[in-house]
Symmetry: C2
Subunit: 205 residues, 2 copies
């Protein structure tokens, strides 16, 4: 593969500078950047994020972007716009809902409670070359559920892209269960310590 | 006001032709266009929808787009991109959750059950000129809740924009409770009959 992991996960400066300057560190596992990445969206930055994710995953020739509602939708939509392909977002339902669809139950550590992620069969064709996009790769619960849904549909997960990866959690391992896809990340957080964000690139210096 | 209601609600041809050709009429109140408007998103069409909504609401000089997760996010984000302003989306929580935020309980006729829509105080400033954007204006429950949140924040609802309005429901009346904002709509569905969608423009001929 000509695309190296270092290139796929190089720090994206317009994002990294804002995380370092503006992220609120809630505890040693949770950072809040919801005033520009989710809840409130800086539209110009989100367009740049989508363009950069698209540039990094384009070599894997995806023809569909898949994400989960709700916070995955902004980066997934701007990535889909830059790639010129459709976007499918998995919908959330109560865990007990039975649906005529591909679905998986996902635990929600930040909001509490489990939920069911579902994708209608009609919108995920068996021949699709799917790129999975989400705002965060943390414990990998959502990503693993989407990867299983892609596999169940008979489609192919050709790459994954995340705006922020918390490398100290085990998301990448869980995503790799179904064959490790190439993973693009724009900002890798190595740890949260003393109210500060330590980026992976900084930590490696 | 120089902007007429007819201009604000003129049929947007690229959308209307697809609704007429592809919408599934579930019963006399529900249409499904989730293979290009929500669930699966035609990114190119969604960008055109955002550009058109932005063009229609721009005269009211909004400086913030407000919507509700999840299906409001795609048209709201492309509208925000075209306007060059930030997007805030209200988050959904269980009705009983108490939050340090502006919030309202909204009934959900399509998915069942009530939920709480919430906007953190920090992302909705009192001097904001807000345009409310959503995919559907149907019974107006979401729109009315967002209008109340805007009023509670001391911000100003300068206009609203919807991709599709079901004019046979009472959404516009409920939205007008807090002073009727100018409303832009790209496709007005007058009724659903015999498995067919009847557009308002067609009905008026």
């Amino acid at each position: 593969m000509a695309v190296t992991d270092a290139a796929l996960c190089a720090p994206f400066a317009p994002l990294v500078v804002r995380i370092i300057a503006e992220a609120q560190v809630i505890d040693d596992r949770i950072i809040k950047i919801d005033h520009f990445l989710n809840h409130r969206i800086d539209a110009v930055l989100m367009q740049a994020i989508g363009a950069e994710l698209a540039r990094r995953v384009a070599p894997f020739m995806p023809d569909l972007v898949l994400t989960a509602e709700a916070s995955g939708i902004p980066p997934a939509l701007t990535t889909a716009l830059a790639l010129g392909v459709p976007l499918v977002y998995a919908k959330k339902y109560a865990p007990l809902t039975e649906l005529p669809a591909y679905s998986r139950i996902v635990p929600s550590p930040t909001r509490g409670g489990d939920y069911r992620l579902a994708v209608a069969r009609a919108v995920l064709p068996a021949d699709a070359r799917v790129v999975l996009i989400d705002d965060f790769l943390a414990n990998g619960g959502t990503a693993a559920a989407l990867a299983e849904i892609i596999a169940e549909a008979g489609a192919r997960l050709v790459a994954a892209g995340f705006v922020v990866e918390k490398t100290f959690q085990r998301g990448r391992e869980r995503l790799a269960i179904h064959g490790p896809p190439p993973v693009a990340v724009l900002a890798q957080v190595a740890r949260l310590a003393g109210g500060r964000v330590v980026m992976a690139a900084t930590a490696q210096r």
